[in-house]
Amino acid sequence: MPSRMTTAETAELRRRQRGKNIALVAVLAALALLFYAIAMVKFKVS
């Protein structure tokens, strides 16, 4: 991480970190939901 960043650059960094975090949470939640749904269907079928 650079030692000095302008305010605009810091804001840009924060914005990107926030976007990345939200995207990761969304992907993980979707994966959990998918695995849950697959497991439920498989149980029902068997």
Binding site: R16, Q17, K20
Partner: protein, 323 residues
């Protein structure tokens, strides 16, 4: 949204060297771009139609998982392709702004992302449907990465003919997800996409040949010239149209598909005919700024979507042709 790489001036002030562009984390959109979303659209659609017309039933949740796996696997192959092709992407105008040559994602990160998605999509496909479908899915990724990207693309002008097989896998994967095996129909669907790929990509390469030449990719217009390429576009379209009719002729599809295939085939043939007879100079260079090739490229895209759409419609519309 500004997609340009952000550079940050280092601690030494204005005269200090700029820090590497990748000091800022990439945006979610950059990771999505690694997956080649436009290619995924076509792959998902043909895979879904393969799944839809297969005999038997798959629970909607499992069908959704299967289509998702096809999409993610195609994206994974695209990400690995971008990792390997980062050197040529950087010199081609069409690809220079991709996340890796654009400096927004490091090459190693892209490779890791692609490998993780490839493994995950294969495992989920196996767990959700069956391991045969997962094996075909894995084969399609391996074929695209090793046979097309790493071997054929840079070594032969026939790269997209053989490499096109990778894009033809999805209908077979969709079918295999339902049935756990393969049959004549999925092989026909494979053959249709396989034969569609050369005229589709060669139409594009006719007006992007300067890009390929700069990158040293031996596309047909670069190695054999535009005149030969135009003939090959016509030849493969002539092969494609009768093969596209086989599902109807052999009784796997009804008249909705058959008549659509006839009409769409005639349209694609017309587009290829116009490419073949484009006004050109003695060396084969287009005098119309490759307008027919640009049109044929667009026609080829609509053709494949419409053909598989017609197959889905044929399946969904009740009629006496459904045994």
């Amino acid at each position: 949204m500004d997609k340009q790489p952000v550079t940050i001036v280092g601690g030494g002030g204005a005269s200090a060297p700029l820090l590497p562009v990748a000091v800022l984390p990439a945006e979610a959109g950059d990771w999505l771009a690694l997956l080649k979303p436009r290619v995924i659209t076509l792959v998902v659609f043909t895979g879904f139609v393969g799944l839809l017309v297969a005999p038997g039933r798959l629970h909607p949740v499992l069908a959704l998982a299967a289509v998702l796996c096809i999409a993610v696997a195609a994206g994974a192959a695209g990400a690995i392709n971008m990792w390997y092709d980062r050197d040529i992407d950087a010199v081609m105008r069409r690809t220079a702004k991709r996340p890796i040559p654009g400096g927004r994602i490091r090459a190693g990160e892209a490779l890791g992302f692609g490998v993780v998605l490839a493994v995950a999509s294969t495992l989920v496909m196996g767990l959700a449907t069956n391991w045969f479908a997962a094996a075909v899915l894995a084969a399609s990724i391996l074929f695209y990465v090793f046979i097309y990207t790493m071997w054929l693309k840079r070594s032969t002008p026939q790269n997209i003919v053989i490499g096109g097989a990778a894009g033809a896998f999805p209908p077979m994967i969709g079918w295999a997800a339902v049935t756990g095996g393969l049959d004549v129909m999925p092989l026909l669907l494979f053959a249709i996409v396989f034969l569609w790929t050369p005229p589709h990509f060669w139409a594009l390469s006719l007006y992007a040949s300067a890009d390929y030449e700069r990158a040293g990719v031996p596309m047909l217009p670069v190695t054999h010239g535009a005149r030969v390429t135009r003939r090959q576009v016509m030849l493969y379209t002539l092969l494609l149209v009768p093969v596209s009719l086989l599902p109807w002729v052999l009784g796997y599809a009804g008249p909705v598909y058959g008549l659509s295939a006839l009409g769409l085939g005639a349209w694609f043939l017309l587009a290829s005919w116009r490419v073949l007879h484009d006004q050109q100079d003695a060396s084969g260079v287009s005098l119309t700024n490759d307008a027919p090739a640009k049109w044929a490229f667009r026609v080829s895209l609509v053709y494949l979507f419409a053909l598989f759409g017609a197959l889905a419609a044929d399946y969904l519309i009740p009629g006496p042709w459904h045994g």
